[in-house]
């Protein structure tokens, strides 16, 4: 596990693209009552990047974001913004802005007053403020007549847009997002994810987003960092994270997967049931224990005509329809549960007894 944490900084493709990161974290730790919520994170965030930090609840991602926004100060380590140390710079003196999970819209103000709040702080003239607010409302696709609407009477999606416009009114160098879309229904979420990505591209600003949802991270991000227990266990492009997860945790976090534990024996690898496993030849695993990770869509039914590198037999005990695709749960002879996903056309026609399998090239082997 520790070898994985060390690789956190290494595989960033952006590192070679832009020489100077806008935000830089060096060994940042945050300890609450002896508990390290953030436990040594080093991370470079490049100008104009969309970085998403994903992790289960309690992994420390919100604490990390609060330190970046200036709402907490780190116990150890350094945070720099464009080369300047900002560890103890309070949030109101930072050129960064956070869109809170609850959005934190001011309930006693209209939509317009909410958006104009940061401009009022800067003592901008009322007429100018209003002009700017209306521009921003157009940018986030809020109708103009919402300007004098009570913000609490807006729908969830509209509130989202108000919060976004307010953050943009502050004109920050870096925008932070603390799962702002988590309370919305699926369709609206998908729409706003795309709009957020467009907004990121148009504005050219740096976005740092945290979420526990893989899907959200995949859709929007240039890079994804996966956090667990206060550490970043892997960081890379969505493609890298999806296809080469650093360990079992990352693999399992990024969707439903099948895990087959294996151990080294006589230069090869054996499954628990003693059968040899075919793995990719260039495997580089330290230690004698490893796990084969196979995504459900790479598992298939094995027949006389279509074999597979690795096979196992079991019984189907559940079937789910995903629309154009079908998922089956198969219990193997050793009692493990496997998930297999096939196109509807390839639905299993036989009885409950099946042989399923996967090819070595489609599986990922991770240590531990």
């Amino acid at each position: 596990m520790s070898s994985v944490a060390a690789s956190a900084q290494s595989d960033s493709p952006a590192a070679s693209r832009t020489p100077r990161p806008v935000l830089q974290l060096v060994d940042v730790r945050k300890v609450f009552d002896g508990f390290a919520a953030v436990d040594g994170i080093s991370l470079d965030i490049e100008e104009g990047e969309f970085v998403t930090i994903v992790g289960p609840s309690g992994s420390g991602k919100t604490t990390l974001l609060r330190m970046l926004a200036g709402l907490e100060s780190p116990s150890e380590g350094y945070i720099t913004l464009r080369g300047e140390l900002i560890n103890d710079v309070p949030s109101n003196r930072r050129p960064t802005c956070l869109v809170f999970q609850s959005l934190a819209l001011f309930p006693h103000m209209t939509v317009g007053d909410n958006i104009e709040f940061p401009l009022r702080v800067r003592k901008m003239a009322p007429e100018e403020r209003r002009k700017r607010a209306l521009e921003l409302m157009a940018k986030v696709r809020l109708p103009e007549d919402y300007y004098s609407k009570n913000v609490m009477l807006c729908s969830g999606g509209e509130k989202q847009r108000v919060a976004l416009a307010r953050a943009f009114a502050y004109d920050p160098d870096v925008l932070f997002f603390d799962e702002p879309l988590s309370a919305l229904d699926y369709k609206l979420k998908k729409l706003l994810e795309k709009e957020l990505k467009d907004l990121h591209r148009e504005s050219g600003k740096t976005f740092v987003y945290i979420t526990h949802s893989l899907e959200e991270a995949m859709v929007m991000s240039d890079r994804i960092g996966v956090m667990r227990a206060g550490k970043v266990v892997q960081i890379g492009t969505p493609e890298q994270i999806y296809s080469t997860p650093a360990d079992r945790f990352v693999a399992e976090f990024f969707g439903e997967v099948n895990i087959v534990p294996i151990r080294r024996a006589d230069g090869g690898w054996l499954r628990r049931d003693g059968k040899p496993v075919a793995v990719a030849p260039d495997l580089d695993i330290v230690g004698d224990e490893a796990s084969v990770v196979i995504r459900p869509e790479y598992m298939r039914f094995v027949t006389e005509e279509a074999g597979a590198d690795n096979t196992l037999t079991g019984t189907i005990f559940n079937e789910y329809s995903l629309g154009s695709r079908l998922q089956y749960q198969v219990r193997s002879r050793t009692g493990r549960t496997f998930l297999i996903e096939v196109p509807r056309a390839a639905a299993w026609k036989g009885d409950g007894e099946v042989t399923i399998g996967w090819d070595a090239g489609n599986a990922i082997v991770v240590g531990g």
Partner: protein, 272 residues
Amino acid sequence: MQTVGRTRTHFLIRAWTTFVVLAIYLPIACGALAGLSKGRYFAFPIRIFSTEWWGKTWDSFEIHVLVQNSVLIALIVTVLSVLFAFFGALAFARYPWKGRRAFQRLLLLPIFFPQPVLGLALLLWFNALGISPTWKTAVVAHLVWIVPVVTLVIAIQVFSFDPVLEEAASDLGASRLFTLRTVTLPILWPGIWSGALFAFLLSWGNFPLSLYTAGADSTIPKWLYSKMVAGYTPMVPALGTMSTLTAAALLLGGGLVRFLLRRRAELRARER
């Protein structure tokens, strides 16, 4: 079936509310009538109506001093108790710290302490400290009992205040003072207003504390009580009715001002 049920529900609601209104206002109406009696003594039915006692009450110098005392005490108590209670309420409803629960309970305890005993205890204290009791000591006594009540009232509003709003304001560049002025206070206003109203009314109507701690200075409740005990005249119900009517007028006036302000804000918003 449903309409029958609904009709019955409506009937019960009406019957109940009528009963409540009668139960509250009949005694007040009787008191008001008593003040309009020509006779000196309290007797029903009233034989001859007259506004004589109202006139006497209105012109009485003694009563003017009483009202002045009561208003002054109540105003000072309102301002001070809202000030104390606001920060007290913030302390235990807004910020987490060790002992906040203990503080909350300790703060609320005086409410349950019988007021006459509290008044006597305070009087003994003032004597021990060599302070002769006047309306000023009565202010202190009122505060001891009223600050906890007002703290409770304001705390209810503070509990529903989301501290994230202050963080958001700061994150958008606002200083602490700007945040207090534009975010925290406006959101807590309703609680502060009701706290102030409570403070004024509790001080205005307080008898047991004033009895012990106001010394030679009299307040309206003190005077009413002493006149009931000895030397009753219809000035007692007349004064009682007057203060009720004044309160009603103030409430109506306040409501009207609020209505006008809101309408002006709406008109202005529409103009924009």
